[in-house]
């Protein structure tokens, strides 16, 4: 890995500030949706999930400076590995819980 990934030599303070603002906005939206009941239940749930996903991307892009061109390949591989595990955990959970839900219906 090159030294360019060290803090200070990478993207400047601006990138962190943009990231911070985006992260705060993406946190505020779900809370606002729930607190002020701005949308129906399904729409709210979907919006929260989307906000969470975008939040992840924001963190990766602005705080960890992941970039498909400049980031070394092994870091990207590690990221895909993490993605795979999250897919297994979240996908498995959805499968299991929906299966149980279906079987518990009267």
């Amino acid at each position: 890995m090159s030294d360019a990934t060290r803090i200070g030599e990478g993207p400047g303070r601006r990138s962190y500030l943009v990231g911070l603002v985006l992260a705060l906005a993406l946190t505020a939206i779900p809370f606002a949706l729930v607190q002020f009941r701005l949308a129906g239940t399904t729409a709210t749930v979907v919006a929260i999930a989307l906000a969470a996903l975008v939040q992840v991307v924001v963190h990766l892009r602005f705080f960890l400076h992941i970039d498909f061109h400049k980031t070394p390949r092994e870091n990207l591989l590690a990221l895909f590995f993490a993605g795979f595990l999250i897919f297994v955990m979240v996908g498995g959970t959805l499968w299991i819980m929906f299966d149980l839900h279906y079987r518990m219906m009267p």
Binding site: V88, M89, L100, M104
Partner: protein, 677 residues
């Protein structure tokens, strides 16, 4: 001010609970008095508690693990005694107390015995095996240690102030919810698990970065010693699985104190998701416990048969396969929750597949032994006992992976026998083997062999006596966690199991005797060369105990078994042309401080002293910020000092007698009879 903490919290309700509390209080006081009497506080604080040296941190982890092993075992033998007598009677433990005991036994053995034990051994050995001077983040390492210790302290304090959880080590809702468990027990469980869980996540990340970034020049991934490989996989599991238990603990606590409904059947809550989330962590956890032990066995088996490890590549791939597969099987812990046949069979099949790479490993170890010149040292004895006993546990595991069979065995003592069969011969014996094998690297002298062997025999025979009857009891229909029962036919088996536990008690006592005897005979048992067993990997290239920097000159690696090659070429123990200055991290009170704050935070949260929770959270943040803004964290060890340390050691190496029962130093394995690989 004190939340719900009142004088009622003292265990005045039962003589036995009071006794336990008094033992904890007086034990602590006695240890503190002894330290004061020896005037050792200053030494301990400067040299140990504030140390950020990975070897010292490792040793402290192991000491914590041994203390908690004693506590966990006392719990175990209390349960065994109760079940041996409680047929058609109440025995001597009231149900509420019995339930606390199995909960604390399970929690302690997993989180505060096994986890610190393996983390300690990894800390001690892994950086040396890869030719590094330290882990990647020494301060975080200290913080992990003290977070784990603060979790352990919370469990111990629950003996004296309040009660521990009665919800088992898995704390399933709805029973662990506020309606059924209104008192502090479950909160103690949650906070102990949270604190130590954060420590473990950080350790996992730390080890991962260390292995990726700090290997000596030339050490390719496929040159890494097997223990380093298993550490790598275990660290991946720690880093990815532990967040799940942290999340599940936080959600349970929110249900309990903030009136939320993640796991209660109100407002869309679902208690079944608790089991799901818990085991997303829980199954990888059992591999976190066992993979390092597999690594240890891979070293003892090859060192003590004087042969290179058979099937290195297949062992590496088997380890990786196990690590990944371990994320895909968690549902086998709740087959009976009512999933459809499709779901159950998918997870059942995935579980059975894990047996394949594990079987590969067993054959590799057997082929390493085959035609080797076996030295029956204590680590080797544990290894052999492991191979035989572990296969039994593996077979019963494959049986349980079959959902229809699991429907019969679920929650029976058959299951208890199965997982102890994996955890004791699999994990714990591995840690004991590792302790005997690497002890010289911790303190500079070997452990006494005679007491080690006595202890070994008690542990092994005791294990069979204590747990084989439980398999049979499982077939006879005995459920786990029984405080008393009315089936007289079970009692003879439970009496045998009790006798087994007594034998294990003798074994545990002998383990302690072994350590005491070794400390007294430390001059005789000293390891002057740093290579007491004719080892093969780089941790034996350092002194025992290693200098703070491990390697005066970072070795260059050209293949597997790097130290063996160095001995064969005559490049081991070689004086370099010139020594250089070495930077080492300075000791710091940061670790113990964070640990203390975390303990106060946890304790305050358990007792609902919210002002104190807020205060300690702010304090923790301040300490972390101060610490991270400090850039002056290293001290320079001048070349002259390095030279002095190294010269003294090399002189000792030159003067050391060659061990008689070992092959001559520097003989490659192929030159030994019957050692062709």
């Amino acid at each position: 001010m004190f939340g719900r903490l009142t004088i009622e919290a003292l265990p005045l309700y039962s003589a036995i609970a009071m006794g336990g509390a008094l033992i904890v209080v007086f034990g602590t006081l006695a240890v503190m008095a002894a330290i004061t009497w020896m005037r050792a506080w200053g030494y301990l604080w400067r040299e140990w508690f504030t140390s950020v040296d990975h070897k010292r941190i490792g040793a402290m982890y192991v000491i914590l693990a041994l203390i908690m092993l004693v506590r966990g075992f006392i719990d175990a033998i209390m349960m065994r005694t109760q079940q041996a007598i409680a047929v058609n009677s109440d025995g001597y433990l009231p149900p509420d107390h019995f339930d606390q005991i199995f909960s604390s036994h399970g929690t302690i053995m997993i989180f505060f015995m096994a986890m610190p034990f393996l983390t300690g051994l990894i800390n001690l050995v892994m950086p040396q095996q890869i030719g590094a001077r330290d882990v990647a983040f020494p301060y975080i390492n200290a913080m992990s240690l003290w977070l784990t210790a603060s979790g352990a302290a919370l469990v111990m304090v629950s003996l004296v102030i309040g009660k521990f959880s009665t919800a088992g080590w898995t704390a399933y809702p709805p029973y662990s919810g506020i309606d059924y468990s209104p008192y502090v027990g479950v909160d103690y469980w949650v906070w102990a698990v949270l604190l130590s869980g954060i420590g473990s996540t950080l350790s996992g990340i730390n080890f991962l970065v260390t292995i990726i970034r700090k290997r000596a020049p030339g050490m390719k991934l496929m040159f890494m010693p097997l223990f380093t490989w298993t550490t790598l996989c275990t660290s991946v599991l720690m880093a990815f699985a532990f967040p799940a238990v942290t999340v599940v603990g936080v959600l349970l606590e929110l249900d309990r104190v903030a009136g939320m409904h993640f796991f209660t059947s109100g407002d869309g809550g679902n208690m079944m998701n608790f089991a799901n989330l818990l085991w997303i962590w829980g199954h990888p956890e059992v591999y976190i416990l066992i993979l390092p032990a597999f690594g240890i066995y891979s070293h003892t088996v090859s060192t003590f048969s004087g042969r290179k490890l058979f099937g290195y590549t297949s062992l590496v791939w088997a380890t990786c396969a196990i690590a990944i597969l371990s994320f895909t099987v968690w549902l086998h812990h709740f087959f009976t929750m009512g999933s459809s046949a499709n779901v159950n069979s998918a997870f059942g099949i995935a579980t059975m597949i894990i047996a394949v790479p594990t079987g590969v490993k067993v054959y590799d170890w057997l082929f390493t032994l085959y035609r080797g010149r076996i030295r029956f040292t204590v680590p080797m004895l544990y290894t052999i006992a492991f191979i035989v006993t572990f296969v039994i546990g593996g077979v019963t595991g494959v049986l349980l992976a079959f959902p229809p069979a699991d429907y019969l065995m679920h929650n029976s003592t058959f299951l208890v026998a199965h997982f102890h069969n994996m955890l004791i011969p699999g994990a714990l014996f591995g840690y004991f083997a590792g302790l005997n094998y690497w002890f010289p690297k911790m303190f500079g002298f070997r452990l006494d062999e005679r007491w080690g062997k006595r202890s070994f025999w008690c542990w092994v025979v005791g294990f069979y006596l204590a747990f084989m009857p439980l398999y049979m009891l499982g077939f006879m229909g005995m459920p786990r966690r029984m405080e008393h029962y009315d089936v007289a036919a079970w009692q003879p088996y439970l009496v045998v199991a009790f006798l087994g536990a007594v034998l294990i008690l003798v074994g545990l006592t002998f383990t302690i005797v072994q350590i005491v005897v070794s400390v007294r005979r430390r001059a005789e048992l000293r390891d002057p060369t740093g290579d007491p067993w004719n080892g093969r990997t780089l941790e034996w290239a350092t002194a025992s105990p290693p200098a703070p920097y491990n390697f005066a000159v970072i070795p260059t690696v050209t293949g597997r078994d790097a130290f063996w090659t160095m001995k064969a070429d005559g490049t081991a123990w070689r004086r370099p042309a010139r020594y250089e200055d070495i930077l080492i991290p300075r000791n710091s009170a940061f670790g113990p401080l964070i640990g203390a704050i975390a303990f106060v935070l946890g304790f305050a949260a358990v007792w609902h002293m919210w002002w104190l929770v807020a205060l300690s959270a702010v304090l923790a943040a301040i300490v972390v910020i101060i610490r991270s803004s400090n850039d002056d964290t290293d001290r320079l060890l001048p070349a002259a000092e390095v030279e002095r340390i190294e010269t003294a050691w090399l002189a000792e190496v030159a003067a050391a007698p060659r061990p008689v029962d070992e092959p001559a130093r520097g003989v490659p394995s192929a030159a030994l009879p019957g050692a062709a690989t």
